[in-house]
Symmetry: C2
Subunit: 191 residues, 2 copies
DNA sequence: GTCTATATTCTGATAGAC
DNA sequence: GTCTATCAGAATATAGAC
């Protein structure tokens, strides 16, 4: 059980990176198979439903990565305000120099496909929900009422996604850092 | 001076609508000329630099429209918190039923093109800056310190753009309404 | 099962008729 | 100046060799 679907993994990894960076429509299947080094036949063998299926799997792949990262910050930093701020600062750091930008989670792909593909829309919605739940659970664990925690999760997720978009457009980490500064305002002490 | 560049205006109007709704890469020039009823020759006559120039003009066109709308809310509602909340609620209303969705300002196009077209990136950045300035000026007029007002403008703009994205993906106005509820937290009384 | 070569459609762009 | 017909290339997808 050592060398199983290594080719599938490579395609998925390359696709995830390119979809995040360029979006759905700007990323061609030819580019994916070229950069991953795999032939096009493998792509349709592993993802019989073509681009849409590949993109859906890529979103799940990216989502799990981000989930793990958020979870890690929440577990390691006791104060939820500081934990969220540290996560945002880490996300901001990549916008320092344009050539270091690695990806724009799934906001871009979600916007592109929400009106044209139900399967893709649903995996994006699920990704957002998972992230928001991790944040909300951290807040609940720290004394927040459930309803307030869930709403705060949505607000913080919006701020981060919007902030990533502004940082990308401005080629500057400044917008995301400003967002980070405002987190204490959203999470005023409750309990 | 009655029937001047009526054809140009029609192309621009159709292009603006489609770019907002579908994004840059998903919107073909053929679709624009088909829906606007104009021939392709006219498009390249009025926009010699092709798709990129047309998209840049479309962003400016959309930006002016949104500017006027924000300005209108800021002038008619005295309290800045209520004014911003009313603007967000109006933006949210279109996500009630999917078929009524008119557009996603410029966030989608900005994300798609930030890394591949400097001219497009710059017009998007300018649009964001204009909107943020209108909000910041309203806050300054109501006793906010300039530095705080500018930062609040960025935060609110991020929340709105992120909220639009979430509402689009969820096909629900709920995320934007939650954003609206959280505006008082950002704009706690200062002066 | 893995991969290559090809089919079909559509893209942005242009040349040139009127 | 206004528009039509067409270009070369890229898109997704498939057929079929091995």
């Amino acid at each position: 059980m050592a060398n199983k679907p290594d080719s599938r993994e490579k395609i998925l990894q390359t696709a995830s990176r390119l979809f995040q960076l360029q979006g759905y429509h700007a990323t061609g299947l030819n580019q994916i198979i070229k950069e991953s080094g795999s032939p096009k036949g493998s792509l349709y063998y592993y993802f019989p439903n073509g681009k849409e299926e590949l993109a859906a799997e890529a979103v799940k792949y990216t989502s799990r990565y981000i989930e793990a990262k958020i979870q890690s910050f929440m577990e390691q930093v006791p104060d939820p305000v500081v934990a969220i701020q540290e996560f945002i600062k880490e996300a901001a750091s990549q916008f320092d120099q344009p050539e270091t930008i690695k990806g724009i989670p799934v906001g871009l792909l979600a916007s592109e496909t929400a009106l044209i593909s139900e399967p893709l829309r649903k995996v994006c919605v699920q990704a957002f929900k998972n992230w928001e739940t991790i944040i909300a659970n951290k807040l609940i664990k720290n004394g927040y009422e459930e309803d307030e925690a869930v709403k705060a999760g949505t607000v913080i997720n919006s701020m981060i996604e919007g902030g990533i978009m502004l940082s990308l457009a401005n080629k500057s980490k400044a917008p995301l850092l400003t967002i980070s500064e405002s987190i204490p305002l959203i999470l005023h002490r409750k309990g």
